[in-house]
Every structure is written in C-alpha cells, then in structure tokens.
Amino acid sequence: MENGKSYEAYLKSTHRLGRIVSVVSLVLLVGAPFAIGAVLGTQPDLGAVARSFLSVGLVWTVSSVVEFLVYTPMLGAGGSYLAFITGNLINMKVPCAMNAKELVNAKSGTAENEVIATLSIATSALVTIVVLAAGVALLVPLQPVLQNPVLAPAYANVVPALFGAMAYKYYRKDPKLAMIPLAAMMILFTLVPSLTSSTSFMIIPSGALAIGLSWLKYRRETKGAAGK
C-alpha cells in the first residue's frame, strides 16, 4: 500500500517534470535557429517557413501522431517523455526499452515496466549523446574510418540488423500469430512497391492486424479457461 502511494506520487511528479522539460526543450529547439541566425546575421524567413511547412511538414505531423499513439503505451510515462525529446524512436529507443523489459521480465503497464523503460531510454539517450559528442570531437581522425567504403554497407543496414535480431526474439513467442502479419506485409509491399517509402505508416495496419489476432486468441483462451 505504502509502495502504491509512493509510486502514484512518483508517476504524478514524472508527468509534471515531463511536461516541463518537453516545453523547455521545445522552446530551446525552436529558438536555436533564431539564436544561430543572430550569430550569422540573418533570421529565418517566417513566411517561407510557414509555406514550406504546409507543403512538406504535414506528412511528419501525421507520422508524429502515429508515433505518439503507438509508442507511448510501450514506453510508459517517463520513458515516452524522454523518448519524444531525444528522438530516434523506431531505430533505437523502442526496441531498446522492449529488450530491457524482456530481459528483466517486466510486465506491460506495471510500475516495474515504468521504471525499467525510463532507465533503458535514459541510458540509451546518454549513450547516443556521448557517442555523438565523442564522434564530433574526433571528427577529423574518425572520418576515414567512418566513411570507409568497405564499412558503408554495414552502416546502411543497421535497421535490418536490429529488426532481424528482434524478429527472432518476438516471433518465437507466437510463431503462428507472427506469420500472418508478416505474410500480409510481404504480399502488400510486393504488390505495391511504392509503399516502401511509407514503411513507418504501414506499422499501423500491420500492428492492428497482429493485435486483432492476438485479441481473438486471448478471448478464446480466457473463454476456454472460464468454461472449465
């Protein structure tokens, strides 16, 4: 009971802190181009930016709504505030938090999951910040290594490597269920190859299909258990 109360207080303060740091980060990130503009002696052309946003920005706005709806439940309160501030969700933060959760066997929606997801995403963001800071500091000596054409295919395939490893981990939990969205996506992308440029949007129908199938299985199992 005591634990429950202190966890409630933790969650409440996490939301308060999360909202404050999100707003501050937003102000800093939108303010930075103006500060840089002051250094360069020229400011953003707001009319051109507004026009450009209407023609190119709306796509990413829709994508952000999708990301918010899908990833927030996976990452919990603290984890999602941090993840939306630090970025790189699909290629790092989300799989990283899911991996940590699996390793310590934390259940979704629990206090444990909230703690583990926050620890995982904070660690992941700090590693990126350190690697990038070190990389930028050592840019000149590192450039030949990083831009070596021999290594180029490796860096171009980080996401397939990540999803290959994660696929084994998750598909083996329920191979029969996994085969259906996988087959559906393979057929869809083969018949409509232009969709490959919108893969992040295709997570929605694919995820909805997998969740729908999982729900049907769950209902069948719980009805069966209740009938016994």
């Binding site: 181009p33 790092m92 979704s108 397939p160 999982s214």
Partner: protein, 249 residues
Amino acid sequence: MSVLEQLNRGSIYLICGLIVAFIAVVCVVFMIRAWRAGKALGMDTTRMKRAVTASATFSVLPSVAILLGVLALSGSLGVPWPWLRLSVIGALHYETQVASAAAEQMGISLSPGQMTVAAFPSIALLMSICIMWGMILSALFNRRYLNRLQKSGDTETRKGGGFGDRAMTAMFIGMVSAYIGSYVGDFISGNGRFTFSGTWTPLAVVAAAALAMAVFTYFSEKKGKEWLDNFSIAGSMLIGMLVAVLIGH
C-alpha cells in the same frame, strides 16, 4: 569565410552544445528518479543494473550509425546543427529527408556548395517545426492517454488475465513484420513488379542477425550462459552488419 566555416563557428557549437547538455542533464535526472522509484518499490537492483547495461550495449551500434548521419549532413549544414538534431529529438531516417525537403523548399539542395547563410536559419527552423509534434503531443496528452489505457487495462485484468502484455508483443510483431515485409517487397518488386532484381542485402542481414540471435538464445537458455542476454542484440546486429560488408564486397 566560406558558408561551412560560418556554420561551424564556435558560437554555434556553443548554442547547440548547451542544448545537448541540457537534454543530457534531463536524462540523468529521469534516470536517478527511476532508480530511486525502483528501489522504493522493492525492485532488485541487479535487475535494474541489468536493464541499464543491456540498454547501453544495445545503443552503441545504432549510435555509430546516427553519427554517420551527422557526417552525411555536415557537408551542407555544418557540424553543430546536425549534431544537435541527431543527439536530441531527430531521427536518423527522418532528419535527412526533412533537411532535403526543407532545402528544396528554400530553392536550394543539400549538395555541397549549395547552402547559403541566408537560407540556413529557415531550413533549421523548418527542420525543428517538422519534427516537434511528438514532443507537443506528449506534453499535452501523455498523462490522459496513459490513464485511459491503464483504466481499460485494469478492467480487463479484473475480468481475468490482462491483455496489455500480449498487445505490446503483438504491436512489436506488427512493427517488425512491416519492416521485413518492406525488404521482401523491395527485393521482389523494387525495380518493377516481380522482377526479383531489387537489393537482397537487407534480407540477408535480417536472416544473419536472426540466426545469430537464435545461437545467443540457445547458449543463454540451454547452456546457462545468461550473461550473454545483455549483449545478444548488439552481438547479433554486429554479425548482421558484417554480412552486409561481406555482400558489399
């Protein structure tokens, strides 16, 4: 002074560096709070340490790939701005697209030598406002959204069982399936429907990483080498990436 020299000025490094430092402090604060909350909940610190270690090893390789994104953009946008964008908020796969779309809207391209000092602040602002909505939605609706999900989850749990965990696993299966499906589609129909002449490297990388993961899992589960779990994703990714290098040459 060339455009790139101006975009790489010390004062611009300072502006971007201060923001990166602020976000780093935010991460540390969230981490300490979560650690303390875990201890207050009676969680085993060994499990929390394991989550931290696994997340750190997991994040190294993707971070190096993100560093390459900084390098790729630095030829046109200078180093500090891509460093800031990809350290915080930005995503590797979005940032380059947004940057080139923003440059195009300003009537230039991201090719070296095309950038102008006058266009840069507008491009930087457009990049900022294109990818800020997740943070805004999170600030506005995170609490309400999670509370609603928690309530429906509690109702389900009372009815017997709880679907939340299965839903998260299913969502992840759906996410992975969308990406693998796109690699298959790209290979079969990437250069024209059913021509089978697209790139097959991502598929080989997926297969190699999955196979490596299976080997790690075997040793962890059957041979009692549980410590391997902390490095299994990073190790599998490394093997997958190595296969990409071998195919590339």
